[in-house]
């Protein structure tokens, strides 16, 4: 009764219910500037999908697949191939095979035992929004389909429409038609990682959590109540995980998400770049909401000001509990990190929003103010 009264009052006054309150970035998520201080190894617009293979690190930009030559200060990206659709995810099987997510179409296998195979459908569902892929072995691919309503590039609309149509599929590449759905009704699954015993970790972006899927069992929260939207997950060399959170939550966005009529009219009438919504990068246009005094003082952008975009990489232990984090705050220049890959004792982070790849020391201790 009291809860019902409180909900009614909250709805009337516009007070956020607990699930809409953005948790503080504190403890292991305490802000720092380590992402901004990290050496930039590559500047490339739209950089995304870092994958380590035996031949080196691969990455993508739009429709292009590229190889990263060197990880030092002067790395270059060498074009390998161009695809028909934008690449939305990338996974390597360790034996020369690549799973390439084709945004709006499906998953294309390049090289290896299943070269040329295109998986467009899993069960009865079209894989039109492949956001993450993971090889469990050479013949078994796990794919996250972010949404049934649109391509991965239209993620912002999926969030603002509050869709919960994502799913995770296990596909036997020898019999692609017989795919098994590991979980459905997910709120934009955006990252996958192997968790041992045939289980996978899935980052569920719009529910701000990471869940563990084991067989047909219901998803189990391993990390919840995040202050930003989780995306890519990558295994760490020390047995833990790296988690990229590609955009920040803030109270204004949470408020707008609760105002359905306003939200729908905003989506109908305004260009997505100018929505009150999270973004991979921001500050480029004066048409963006929240400008001026709220964000700047003496013409300097306040690091703690509300921002549509942010850079955040979290180091987690083997139980997926955060132990440290690397930030690029509101005034930073490594926003919208969507891909991570640890190689040769360095962690490479691809910031699609800012269009750059930075190299981090995986053992850097933010609490000591250690340099990345």
């Amino acid at each position: 009764m009291i809860d019902a009264l409180r909900r009614g009052y909250n709805a009337f006054r516009g007070v956020a219910p607990p699930e809409r309150i953005v948790p503080a970035m504190d403890g292991p998520l305490r802000p720092n500037t380590l992402l901004d201080e990290a050496p930039v190894v590559l500047d490339l617009a739209g950089v995304d999908n870092l994958v380590a293979t035996a031949d080196g690190v691969l990455l993508t930009s739009g429709r292009d697949l590229l190889a990263l030559d060197g990880t030092g200060d002067a790395a270059t990206a060498r074009p390998l191939r161009s695809f028909e659709h934008p690449v939305s995810c990338l996974a390597a099987d360790g034996a020369g095979g690549l799973a390439v997510g084709q945004d709006g179409r499906g998953v294309l296998i390049v090289g290896g035992a299943h070269d040329g195979l295109v998986v467009e459908q899993a069960g009865t569902m079209r894989l039109a929004c492949p956001t993450a892929a993971l090889f469990l072995d050479r013949n078994t691919l796990v794919v996250a389909n972010g949404s049934t309503a649109g391509p991965a590039a239209d993620w912002k609309r999926d969030l603002m429409a509050q869709r919960r149509t994502g799913s995770v599929w296990r596909i036997d590449l020898r019999r692609p038609g017989a795919a098994t759905m590991l979980a459905g009704g997910l709120a934009f699954p955006a990252g996958l990682a192997a968790a041992g015993d045939d289980a996978v970790l899935v980052s569920e972006a719009w529910r701000h959590r990471v869940v563990r899927l084991a067989g047909q069992a219901a998803p189990v929260d391993v990390l919840a109540d995040l202050p930003a939207y989780p995306g890519a997950i990558a295994p760490a060399a020390d047995g833990g995980y790296w988690l990229a959170l590609f955009a920040p939550r803030n109270q204004l966005i949470e408020f707008v998400l609760g105002e359905r009529r306003y939200c729908e009219r905003m989506m109908e009438r305004i260009h997505p770049d100018h929505w009150i919504a999270p973004a991979l990068s921001s500050g480029a246009s004066f048409l963006e909401p929240i400008q001026g005094g709220a964000r700047k003082k003496l013409n300097t952008l306040k690091p703690w000001s509300p921002s549509w975009s942010y850079g955040l990489v979290v180091r987690c232990d083997a139980r997926c509990k955060p132990t440290a984090s690397f930030h690029s705050r509101a005034d930073g220049h490594v926003h919208g990190v969507t891909a991570l890959c640890e190689r040769d004792g360095r962690l490479l982070a691809a910031a699609r929003g800012s269009g750059r790849v930075v190299s981090l020391d995986p053992q850097a201790d933010p609490d000591l103010g250690g340099s990345a």
Partner: protein, 498 residues
Amino acid sequence: MSALLELRNATKEFRGIAAFKDIDFALRPGELHAILGENGAGKSTLTKVLAGVYQLTAGTMLFDGEPLTLKSPLEARHRGIAMVFQETNLVPSMTVAQNIYLGEEKMFNRLRGLYIQAQRFLLSLNFYVDPMALVSSLGAAKKQMVEIARAVHHKARLIIFDEPTASLTPEEKFHFFNLVRRLKEDGVTIIFISHALEEALALSDRITVLRDGALVVTDDTANFDRERIVQAMVGRSLSTELYGQAGKRRARPYGEKILSIQNLSMGSIVRNTSFSIYSGQITGLFGLVGAGRTETMKIVGGVVKRDFFHGGAVILDGRPVRYRTPRPAVKDGIVYVTEDRKIEGFFETMSIAGNIQIGDVATGSNPLTVVSYARARRLAAEWKERLGVKAIDSDAKMIELSGGNQQKVVIAKASIQKPKLIIFDEPTRGVDVGAIVEIHKFIEELADDGIAVVVISSYLPEILALSDRILVSRQGRVVEEMTIDTATEAKIMFAAVH
């Protein structure tokens, strides 16, 4: 110089157990004499004998060279001896002015005149206390001020202060020290008991150290330093144990997020504060008086309620909670150890075992369960040994214990509830250095066992010595977070003030 007051072979026993034994003590006229010692060393008992609360079991007391036996504090006051007790002895239902002039009432009292007189007197002491306020509405610091004012008002020749500064703010302490110096200039002899060794070193002319009921040393203050005092008090050097770990250790790693406070508000005291608490760590919460630290944690522990509609959220293990009383909080594993142990921490006329038993019962055992006093005594004996409570036995009444031992029982009472989050509010206020080390060690053990520990303290060395992670509160909200690796006193204080 002949002594104003002298004790010869003085012994005081309770039920055959000596609180102090064969003490020879002399007080010079006009001096400021500090008496130091661990809790249970016999300081309070000694001073209570001087103030007429207790009578000596053996030995003699001389005042102005004449033998003296005081039968009551009233008699002591008539002789010019006043004592400001550690726990204030004011009448809560009376106003400040009525308390100051208690015992001097006339047949017909003109309250207005009394208030004006009290106001002038309090201002002359630089104590900003409303004379018309009911004592029950005052905080601990202001009650202490009224107690001091009452002693000064009686124009005593000898004033005994038992831990007068334990609950005063730095500014109030400054005024208090000035007052003490002024009294000394006026020829008043002062005995000063304090656990803050720096205060004793800065203020006193001579220092006496007691240990286990025996007088260890009396010497001029100029011949003492902190290390010598501590060594005399505990019989060994504590320089590496007492606040010695600050800056020399690494923080414990973050455990599970046990508690998440989001936009918590309560009136104008707690204002939209957000932070998290992790298991297996000690989170220090620092702030100046009025920063809302205690109130925030009292909301978490169910001691007070947050605002109903705009109160924000308290999320325990991922579940929103709003406690109306401490009992459901205790059941959920949250325990709050109060800063005001005498009022909120224990029942003073009950025994140690009885108090610890209350903590055990509060965990929510079956109401039909027969409460076993034998079990209570067994538990009390275990905790008495674990925390080093100095008492005759588990049946000793709380009122008979020294401040530090009372605090240990309060901590035992809380710890027996097997919490997953334990909040210590000023855990070592009014506690001696030896007990501080023991309490700190126990708090560290709790964190090592994976329990989430919050320590609220106004004493920066304590925050730095204990905490893995430090939150700084200002004007009702947490404004800064730092780890022990990077925190310094200057950084913390800057965050607390600016």
